[in-house]
Symmetry: C2
Subunit: 262 residues, 2 copies
Amino acid sequence: MVVHKKQIQTGTLGKALALLDLIATSREPLRFIDLLHLSGQPRGTLHRQLSHLLEEGLICLNDETGTYELGIRLLNWAALTWSRSSLRQVAEPFLKSIHDRTNETVHLAVLRGERVVYLDKVESRQAVRMHSQIGNTSPVYCTGVGKAMLSVLEDKTLEELAKRIEFKRYTEHTLANASALLLEVNDIRVQGYAEDREEHEVGIRCVAAPIISAKGQLQGGISVTAPVFRLQVGQLEQWQLWVKETAQAISAQLATRMGPYA
Amino acid sequence: MVVHKKQIQTGTLGKALALLDLIATSREPLRFIDLLHLSGQPRGTLHRQLSHLLEEGLICLNDETGTYELGIRLLNWAALTWSRSSLRQVAEPFLKSIHDRTNETVHLAVLRGERVVYLDKVESRQAVRMHSQIGNTSPVYCTGVGKAMLSVLEDKTLEELAKRIEFKRYTEHTLANASALLLEVNDIRVQGYAEDREEHEVGIRCVAAPIISAKGQLQGGISVTAPVFRLQVGQLEQWQLWVKETAQAISAQLATRMGPYA
DNA sequence: TGTTTTAGTTCCAAATAATGGAATTGATTT
DNA sequence: AAATCAATTCCATTATTTGGAACTAAAACA
């Protein structure tokens, strides 16, 4: 959320979490020997690091296969993170309200590095299943909320972030490079809302707006998403207004009632 | 899940996570000064530890209130933990099946220390909202799944665990001490299933059974929960069978197709 | 069955990071 | 402007981590 003034060396903790991330992001189940190659750490070091992660419940060892999985303690922390998130708490009724009016999927998301993390979702029939979205991430440059959030960042921050992005084409409309993104963000700044015109998935469009704090700091964003075939003429124009209004209402509310646990 | 052979000193990582847990489990938002008192660490040490957690995205600092909140990175890890859990993947269709037959809430849970952590849930109308259960915990001694899981542990492990529990009366039926619990677990071992007779919440009953690995190691448990007013005569007796059968079917399936990501 | 290979664990002197008290800076109140 | 309180920085001391090598366990091979 906040951009770092200076890079801090996180020492032992950083190394342990890098290892955890390796396990978390691998698409294959990993054994000791795999981690040995992937991490590039010496045997002794890796062994102790894994012992510590294991002991702390951040990972667990599958007895049958000898592979490491993510631990249940992470789930527990996440449940607390979610339920206490002040942004989420404040936004909840607003998300419901906009969903009632649009009857389409509404997302609440925050920015984390070059990716968007979904914090909440209100969906048509089905309510949220965890696997659907919460805690999952998407690239910032081809999602409505992503681009909306970028529009709040300062130029310098934005440019640095854009430079770090690895652009990948998901559809023919996906923005293909940093300059195209910066150009589009400029438009978004003027309009106050962002659109996703089938940039991430063919047949899916959305409108989104950023949420800011009293001090103007980026807090997150909301979006309404719909399949193209269900869109009426002028519908997105209507939703634009609602999304902008709602994001501003959430921002205003955040300024009043801050802090979690309230 | 697995009981430790020996206690390992987790050093720096352990200290950092203890601090994270302090923030996670506090019912009040905490500022630096609060953490200074709570943690008992010297100023310099605490400051560096917080900087590291902050830098790693495990916590974030609320600019307006100066209080620390849990970070989004935890949510992201949890989403991966959940979606890849081999137990959850294997259990999913079985949970649906038993829900179709009972039309009541079905839970999948695992044991973590003296508490039960919910891994999945299939509910009547509403599908899962994260806040409903996933990642949340309950005491082991007054839940159906909790007692069912205890029944798989070895005597020594069980007794040590029971000794560590702080018993709290939730209803007049709550088991009040370790010996009552051990006695009940003995019955469960014979029957192969556990009951919760309004022990956690008045008006709520459930039946549960444990899931084990090929080697007989405890993997988790499932339960069917219903409000007393909706229960027909002989209904729990029917569900007992289903829950036992289903838990065994999951155990069998686990033995075949192990490992996450499959 | 014994041998080889591979995977995982333990050890310990050297290198690195964490510690914590004190001094400093910054913000808020009187 | 002074006083109070909160947060941050500094650095010599202390504790932990590091990593190569030796060791053990288990599986694959002969």
